[in-house]
Point group: C3
Chain length 349, copies 3
Amino acid sequence: MELTAKSIAEFLNGKVEGDQEVVVNDVSKIEEGKPGSLTFLANPKYSKYIYTTSASIVIVNDSFVAEKIINSTLIRVEDAYRAFAALLEMYNKNTKKLKGIDPQTHIDKSVVIDESVYVGPFAYIGENARIGKNVQIHPQVFVGDNAEVGDNTILFPGVKVFNNCIVGKDCIIHGGTIIGSDGFGFAPKNQKDYKKVPQIGNVVIEDNVEIGSNSSIDRATMGSTIIRTGVKMDNLVQIAHNVEIGEHTVMASQVGIAGSTKIGKNCMIGGQVGIVNHLTIADEVKIAAQSGVGSSIYEKGAIIQGSPAFNIKEYQKSLVIFKNLPRIQKEIHETSRLVKDFQVLKEDI
Amino acid sequence: MELTAKSIAEFLNGKVEGDQEVVVNDVSKIEEGKPGSLTFLANPKYSKYIYTTSASIVIVNDSFVAEKIINSTLIRVEDAYRAFAALLEMYNKNTKKLKGIDPQTHIDKSVVIDESVYVGPFAYIGENARIGKNVQIHPQVFVGDNAEVGDNTILFPGVKVFNNCIVGKDCIIHGGTIIGSDGFGFAPKNQKDYKKVPQIGNVVIEDNVEIGSNSSIDRATMGSTIIRTGVKMDNLVQIAHNVEIGEHTVMASQVGIAGSTKIGKNCMIGGQVGIVNHLTIADEVKIAAQSGVGSSIYEKGAIIQGSPAFNIKEYQKSLVIFKNLPRIQKEIHETSRLVKDFQVLKEDI
Amino acid sequence: MELTAKSIAEFLNGKVEGDQEVVVNDVSKIEEGKPGSLTFLANPKYSKYIYTTSASIVIVNDSFVAEKIINSTLIRVEDAYRAFAALLEMYNKNTKKLKGIDPQTHIDKSVVIDESVYVGPFAYIGENARIGKNVQIHPQVFVGDNAEVGDNTILFPGVKVFNNCIVGKDCIIHGGTIIGSDGFGFAPKNQKDYKKVPQIGNVVIEDNVEIGSNSSIDRATMGSTIIRTGVKMDNLVQIAHNVEIGEHTVMASQVGIAGSTKIGKNCMIGGQVGIVNHLTIADEVKIAAQSGVGSSIYEKGAIIQGSPAFNIKEYQKSLVIFKNLPRIQKEIHETSRLVKDFQVLKEDI
């Protein structure tokens, strides 16, 4: 694939600054850019590299103001990151198309598979599972009885979708992720022992959801654990039984959400956050990485931090003082000592 | 399955309040209850829903006192959650019985498999592995050489039980969990490099243990990593080499226990807790979610929180003050200022 | 295997104290040592057991000074842990050699496999994958198109190495670990939705790397996510896209490193640590367990703790005061009260 700055700018509806005819045949990171490669600048932290990169073309935001001379050709667009992503997607479409059903598979005879579907070696599809069009079921995937996988969805190697669970259209589930294992429910049997509470619900994943690798999403005790349209979850995330994640909420890796908690729409949840069970989190809430959420957040758009988490600005004020505690303690002790001196004085008076 | 309130009450040894003949054919959550469904009320947080639910029957605790009119028929029992669990279990027994050995498996010729056992497609069973009666080895499971799986145990899809490891009777291991990977043991080889310490021990899981999905339990360097009878572990839990978990201890998801630590009986460990290596935790200790345990806990029944964790009441007192630090700092500065004024005064005197 | 104290001492270049001819045929932990077994003492926490162990031989550090009578024969060496590891390795070499290609595999016809290689049942090797000599590809492993696995590397059951990823020589990847799933990259598509940024880079793992079970290492958006020579990572670790981990860095379980962060050489990272994206961590930095790193660490050899993490000594000073906050608050209030009394006094004067 060889592209000129001019043709890229046309594709992106952008404006060229520099050599319209310069050609690229690769992509690179701005700090590692080589002649013949295309890169982008979106994060201001990387601005310094635009003056030294050898990349032939750099896609930048309209708002970018150069402070020194730049050797590369620039293409100005409204949003450099999104534009670059669109280009990558075009570039990515060269990848080979997976199709056909491998003979070394187990597909129950009750299952109807469209000719557009890929089923890789050592995949298992159980009784009455429903598989949509253009679905990719990669090697070593498990799809249980009565499970459902919507059109265009990709299940990467090793994914398990258990009985009765539903994955919507245009979803991507990355390798090793488990959808529909039993929720963690036990009733005390006597003072020392536990009895398993059967988990007879399922998991419902709506459309356009992406879930990272080696994550665990438990089925509901009854009813459904629900992941709404457009949710994006990173790797090693834990979603307990009966949780509901609202539309377009984004979750970084190693987050854990305990049972029956309901997360709103368009929330952003940082890495390693834990949220306890039976809570409600409002729409558009942002939770800083490693926070622990112990009570419901009803304020839309709240930004919180800490373990337990509270308002991020207040948290950070307390945190600054925490770091200064040794100095503050000294001040307290000195003040107390002075005050005791005064007491002596006072008694003298 | 259609059941009357009367027949359910007989099964549960409970008492009906309302229409003895009302019929249910489904279960539901109390807040989503529909006519014809059965639900329960155990957690007081959900009490408000009992006055509005459309569920035909609600199982409640004997101790429940209604504050308004309830439309549903009630069944009073000693413990509503346990009773409901017992019903679910009955309901659950309709699920199809898995049996037989799929032809697309690898089972070493040295292995004897009872006719009550299920071995699903693409499962692997190594040399001299011992498989008990009624065991379910689901698709894509790995059971290594000389490993042992006790009667009635279920290994869900993708579970790996490595060489020489032992899983007891009546255990459930959920999808993707790894039992017996090498412990993390390295000896510094020179100032900059490490040499692997071979891990020649195993993992021993006793009876009635349930382990969630995508968890990792490492084999011992020598001897055994031991999970005692009745332990319940959630998803994505890390158990390092030579750890021992006492009977009936319960562990929420994403907990990590470092090497050689011994946890007592009947402990309750919250989500995302970390415990460092070579510690001893007494029986019945409770550890709040996200805590970090850096030293042994010898007091039976201690309740701790924080990172590092200490007595939960003291922790929470400190925490309240942490939140108020900005206000307290102000008080200190004002007091100091006043005291300095006095010093001037004192010098005047 | 029967060995005398004398022959072991010769192998380890150590010095016998006690019966040169005593024979061992097993290894044990010092606190569980039985007659006929060999053990070692390295961690001073275990010193007390040397006076009561029934192990026939104990390997100890040259520097060990006995405080009571010891019944076992001692072998003194420079480093008892390393010496014991060397013995275990010898002991371990009795394990059976895996070889040959199982017929129930999927190996693309373009792939050349040396006769020294093991490929277990239900393993998948894609188009143009390159497999080195003496490689062990265990059951249910996935190696994608154009992926590369270096000489002597072991991929344990269930490991997935995705398309175009490279694993070096002498590496060990434990069960269920995913190498090369997509990085977590999304561009806001409109105010409420996200568009996937294709991840067209790969993962490069250099030589002598060991990665624990159920870990996730994402491919780069472009370029490579890089794990340098000699890195050791424990279970359930998350490495995001475009991260680079320096040579011989060691990472305990459940660590999470966010996108594009560069970790130096010979760092030690404790369990459950989180490090945010786009940071630089200097060589030889040590990070205490559960810490959260929110800004770059440029000081070589820095030791940090806390969430957010700072200098460990300062952190621990603050922490001691945190625990004492209730007492300190009292002191402040008393001092303030006294000062107010003085104010009254001052006004009187």
